[in-house]
Symmetry: C2
Subunit: 326 residues, 2 copies
C-alpha cells in the first residue's frame, strides 16, 4: 500500500442492497441502559444514565429500556431507578420499558408513570433457581399476579404493555442445550398470563441459526404469532448477528441490542455481552431495513459512554467508525 | 446468581440443529498462516509458523494457505517462504496453497513442490494502484502469464490448482461502495485466464447479506457456477458471520477464515481482521455442517499462537472457550 485511504464521500457506510423476505422495518429494543449497565462493574451516576437515555433517544431509538425496579440489594448498579425514571419519562415519542421483578417493583414503576414493564422468567430450572431461587413454575406463579396487576392498572386510552423476558432459551451453563419443547411451554405460560411480547434470550450466546429457526417455528406451530416475538442474542461466541439474520428471515421484527455492546467488557476473561446496537444497525442499514437510527450519533454516544466506563466498546462497528470518524 | 455454573457434560458446544437449504459440508480455506501473519506487527520465527501449520492440520483443517512467494521487501513477515514451505509440504491429506504475485514467485513455489497457488487481483482501480501500482487491467495482464505458466506445469496426474483472490468486492476505502458489474467483470477475467476458484474478498468488512446475495446471483447470471466461488469476509463491522450465512444459503461451500482471527489485533484502533475460524466452526457445527475441524484443538492452537504474538485472540469463540476450558 502506497497511500492512506481518504474517507469516501459520505463516510464509511454499507451499500444499501435489500435481500428478499425480510421485514421492511425493525424495532430495536435498546437494552444498554438496563441490561447493559446492570452487568458492568462500574456503577454509573444517575445523571450519566439520564444523559445516556437522552442521547439514545436523540440517535433515533424509540424503545429504550431505562432501568429495573428490583431490590437494590440484588442489582446495586440500578439502585437509583426512582431517581432516574422521572428524568427520562417525558421523552417525546420514546417508549421506556422498565424491569419489574415483583408486585412491589411494579407498584413503584407504575407510581412513577411507567407504562411499559417487563418480567424476567427462565426456561431452565437451574437458572430459575440461581437467579430467582425458585423453580420455573414457582417463578411463573410469582409473575402471574404482577402481570395481572399491570393489566388491571390499564385504562382504555392508557394501556400498559408487558414484555416477558425468557432467558436460557437455547443453552444453559448448568444444563447444556435446552430442549425446544421446554422453552415453548414457558413461552405459552407467559403469553397466557397476559404478556404482550416475549423476548427470547440466548443468555450465554451459544445458539446458531438453525436452532433459532427451529424454536421460532415450534412457537408458530403452537399458535404463537411471530409478531409477538423479539429476539435477544448475546455475542459470546460471535453468533448474535447471524442468529438475528435467521430471525429476520423468519419474520421477527423486534430485536434487542445494547448500545456499544454495553454489558460485555472486552477485557473480561469471558465476553458475554449483548449484541451491539451499532453492529445490528450496520447490517439493517445495508439491507435497507428501516430503523430510524442515526449510526453516527449512536456511535458517538457509545464512545462517550465507553469513556464514562473507562474502557473501549466491544462493538466492532463502534471501534471501526470511531477510529475513522470520531 | 447464587452459584457459579459448572460446565455441562461434553463442555460448552452448540446444540446441533440443521437449517434448510445449506450445504452438508463446508471446506474451510484457512488463511491465518498467510493472510493473518502478513498483517500482524510481530514477525514470527519460521519454526513457529511451521508449528502453526502442523497444529492447524492436526485440528482437522485440510486447506491451509501456508505463505506467500512475494518479494521480501513488500511482505517482510513472510520473507521465509523458501525455508517454511519444505517444513510443511509433506503434511498428509492437506492442501497447502501459496500466494504467487508474479512469474518469479510462481517459479520459486513450483520448484519447492507447491501444487496450489493463488494470485491476488483487485476489483477497484484505487486498490490496484495502491497494492500493485497498476490499473485493474494491467494487473490482470500481469497475472495472465502466471496462471498460464502454472497450468503449463501440470501433468495429467499432477494438477496445479489456481485460486484467484479478488479484493474490494463490496467496498473500497477510497472509492466507497463497489458496483456489482465491475466486480463481475474482473471475476470473469480471472476465470477466463484459467483460475480454478475465485475468493470474493470483503477486504474492508463493509458488506451486508443482501449485497453478498446480489453479487453471487449476478455471477450466476453471467454463467459463473457457485461451486467455483469462495467467500472471504472481514469482521471490521461485525458482519462476517452473517454474510457467511447468506453465502451458505446461496450454495457457497468454501469459506475463508483465519484461526483465532489472526491478522486483526483486538487492541489496534481499527480491528480489520479476517473472520475467525473458531467463530465460523461454532456456527457450522451448530448447523450440523461437516468441516472435519476439532474446535477444542483449534482453539488451543489459537491460544498458543496468541501467546507467540503477545496479545489475546480477537475471536469471541476463542476467548469464551479458553476462559472455560483451556
Amino acid at each position: 500500500m502506497t497511500a492512506e485511504p481518504s474517507n469516501p464521500p459520505g463516510g464509511p457506510l454499507p451499500m444499501v442492497v435489500p435481500a428478499d423476505g425480510l421485514p421492511p422495518r425493525v424495532r430495536i429494543h435498546e437494552v444498554g441502559a438496563r441490561d447493559g449497565l446492570q452487568n458492568e462493574k462500574v456503577t454509573v451516576p444517575t445523571e450519566v444514565k439520564a444523559e445516556l437515555v437522552h442521547r439514545l433517544a436523540e440517535a433515533g431509538l424509540t424503545t429504550i429500556e431505562a432501568t429495573s425496579f428490583v431490590h437494590p440489594k440484588w442489582v446495586p448498579q440500578l439502585a437509583d431507578a426512582e431517581q432516574l425514571f422521572p428524568r427520562v419519562r417525558d421523552l417525546e415519542g420514546v417508549d421506556l420499558p422498565v424491569l419489574v421483578p415483583n408486585a412491589r417493583g411494579l407498584d413503584r414503576a407504575l407510581a412513577l408513570g411507567a407504562r411499559r414493564v417487563a418480567v424476567f422468567a427462565s426456561a431452565t430450572e437451574s437458572f430459575a433457581k440461581a437467579n430467582l431461587n425458585r423453580t420455573v413454575d414457582e417463578a411463573l406463579a410469582m409473575f402471574e399476579p404482577v402481570v395481572a396487576r399491570a393489566k388491571e392498572s390499564e385504562a382504555p386510552d392508557d394501556l400498559v404493555h408487558v414484555r416477558g423476558y425468557l432467558s436460557m432459551c437455547f443453552g444453559d451453563p448448568w444444563e447444556g442445550p435446552v430442549p425446544v419443547p421446554q422453552v415453548v411451554r414457558v413461552c405459552k405460560a407467559l403469553l397466557d398470563m397476559g404478556c404482550d411480547e416475549l423476548s427470547l434470550g440466548d443468555t450465554i450466546g451459544v445458539a446458531t441459526p438453525g436452532h433459532v429457526e427451529t424454536l421460532l417455528r415450534a412457537l408458530n406451530d403452537e399458535g404463537v404469532p411471530t409478531d409477538l416475538l423479539a429476539v435477544h442474542f448475546h455475542d459470546t461466541y460471535g453468533q448474535a448477528l447471524a442468529n438475528t439474520l435467521a430471525a429476520l428471515r423468519h419474520g421477527v421484527s423486534t430485536v434487542d441490542a445494547s448500545a456499544g455492546g454495553l454489558g460485555g467488557c472486552p477485557y473480561a476473561k469471558s465476553a458475554t455481552g449483548n449484541l451491539a446496537t451499532e453492529d445490528l444497525v450496520w447490517m439493517l442499514q445495508g439491507l435497507g431495513i428501516e430503523t430510524g437510527v442515526d449510526l453516527g450519533r449512536l456511535t458517538a454516544t457509545s464512545v462517550w459512554m465507553a469513556g464514562q466506563l473507562g474502557r473501549p466498546s466491544p462493538s466492532r462497528t463502534v471501534r471501526a467508525l470511531s477510529h475513522q470518524e470520531l
